[in-house]
């Protein structure tokens, strides 16, 4: 289990490197890219940067309020160990039953201190890897739509458990003709 996927806000990991930040400090914003509920964080286990990602993205994006870009962070299991954060296999709540039973985990008993450690280490990795990092990603809406349509086609997603509007928008975006835009002035 090298990585755990957690949906995030991509821009929380963007920083302008403020000059007030002391050496070794981490800005506060990235912490809000890793929110918890009841001191627990819902994550999805992936073996590599590519493994089943499209399927997980489709499943999670299909339950959103609208068809959006999907932004995620891949938490390194070694960092979790260093931060002393424990995980527990639990049933997921996505429209993909296979993923729910096999890949879902809860990170549990997360204290503020542990969350800061996890955030700081993840942020540091992102900073070191720079533009080529795969730790934090934004998948464009158009690509998300393709994943959703493909997963529906393969029967991975249960439409009844997904947001009907998202499914409809995904079908339109993938299957429809390119958007009509006003003609450009000469």
């Amino acid at each position: 289990m090298p990585f755990l996927l957690r949906s995030t806000k991509y821009n929380k990991w963007i920083t302008d490197e403020p000059d007030w930040l002391e050496d070794g400090e981490t800005p506060a914003d990235p912490i809000f890219g890793l929110d918890t509920k009841s001191n627990t964080m819902s994550v999805w286990a992936v073996e590599s940067h590519e493994d089943q990602l499209d399927r997980i993205i489709a499943a999670l994006a299909a339950t959103r309020q609208s068809l959006q870009d999907f932004e995620y962070v891949l938490l390194d299991s070694q960092i979790l160990t260093l931060a002393q954060i424990r995980s527990r296999k639990t049933e997921g709540k996505s429209p993909d039953a296979h993923l729910n039973s096999l890949l879902h985990r809860d990170l549990i008993e997360i204290s503020a201190q542990k969350l800061v450690k996890l955030t700081a280490a993840t942020f540091k990795t992102i900073q070191q890897e720079g533009e080529n990092t795969k730790v934090v990603e934004r998948v464009p809406r158009k690509v998300v739509a393709k994943y959703i349509v493909e997963c529906l086609r393969q029967g991975h997603l249960n439409p009844a458990a997904a947001n009907a509007k998202v499914l409809q928008d995904a079908r339109e975006l993938v299957g429809g003709s390119p958007e009509q835009v006003p003609p450009e002035d000469q």
């Binding site: 806000k9 991509y10 821009n11 990991w13 963007i14 920083t15 302008d16 309020q65 870009d69 992102i126 720079g130 533009e131 990092t133 934090v136 934004r138 464009p140 809406r141 158009k142 003709s177 390119p178 958007e179 835009v181 006003p182 450009e184 002035d185 000469q186």
Partner: protein, 303 residues
């Protein structure tokens, strides 16, 4: 800037538009070159609506110069729909006064923008006119409104309370309010939003939400202004979060016309994550361009 509303005497008749101030430009000059940016291209938009998007060479009108143009009824009707909306927003304008004004401006309006000094405020003046008389009467006292005050208030209303909302809630509330405001005031609302962004009068968190929403709104009449705003922000904003959001907004628009701006932005970008995001948008737009070229070739081949 001053907006003056006239009602021309009849359809398709040549009328004079007198400008009292210098430095009035046409839309064909790139709006970003204007000191007051979109404020000026709203003028162009109005004018272009009026002249059925006729391409105008760039001109500057000297002080007190005049210009003759033919009134196109269909375009005038569009303006007719728009102006009363603005007028009704003016609380001090009673229904009787509004009736008085609209009865004098029965069918057609011309909006002329003049710039003066360094103020960004606009004013609408309505002139009564007698049928067949080409000389406007004195401005109506009842019809003076600060157009930009109205729009500024409307735009400010969009952000009320959003700072204390949760992120998801903020986005939804902003999207609804912004969409409503832009559909109502069209390019003028975009103008005011651009002003707030350029002058950094909005917090980056609000700006980034606004830019993404601007890329996602379905409103063809403001399409070009919104895209230009996003192109400007993706290159020029001092905030990396804002540049990133502009890049997302452009990906939502999915318009290959933004490719040159994105290319410039990527070359200039110093934040790795933002550059990564911009490159994705760039690739997407290139794919869309190829797709559009292919579709175009297909339709040509198939006749």
């Amino acid at each position: 800037m001053t907006f003056e509303i006239y009602n021309p005497p009849s359809e398709s008749e040549i009328i004079d538009i007198h400008t009292s101030f210098s430095d009035v430009g046409w839309i064909d000059e790139e709006p970003v070159r204007y000191e007051f940016g979109a404020s000026t291209y709203d003028f162009g938009r109005m004018f272009r609506q009026f002249h059925k998007r006729e391409t105008q060479p760039h001109k500057r009108l000297d002080q007190k110069s005049s210009l003759q143009k033919e009134v196109k009824p269909s375009d005038a009707e569009q303006l007719h729909k728009w102006i009363p909306l603005v007028l009704q927003e003016q609380e001090s304008l009673t229904s009787l006064q509004l009736e008085d004004l609209t009865s004098r401006a029965k069918q057609y309006f011309i909006v002329v923008l003049n710039r003066y000094g360094s103020t960004k405020y606009g004013r609408v003046k309505a002139y009564g006119i007698k049928c067949g008389d080409r000389t406007p009467s004195s401005p109506s006292d009842t019809a003076h409104i600060d157009l930009y005050d109205v729009i500024r208030q409307e735009v400010a209303r969009i952000f009320i309370g959003t700072e204390d909302m949760l992120a998801d809630e903020t986005e939804e509330v902003l999207a609804n309010r912004l969409s409503e405001c832009i559909k109502k005031y069209q390019g003028l609302a975009v103008t005011e939003i651009q002003h707030l962004i350029v002058n950094e009068e909005m917090k980056p968190e609000s700006v980034e939400a606004v830019l993404r929403i601007l890329g996602d709104i379905d409103d063809p009449s403001t399409y070009k202004y919104r895209r230009q705003l996003l192109e400007k922000a993706v290159i020029d904003s001092s905030s990396s979060v804002v540049r990133d959001a502009a890049s997302v907004g452009l990906s939502y628009m999915d318009d290959p016309h933004a490719i040159p701006s994105l290319k410039k932005a990527i070359e200039k970008e110093t934040c790795p994550l933002v550059r990564k995001s911009m490159k994705k948008t760039f690739t997407q737009l290139e794919d869309t361009e190829k797709c559009l070229s292919f579709c175009g070739a297909q339709s040509t081949t198939s006749g």
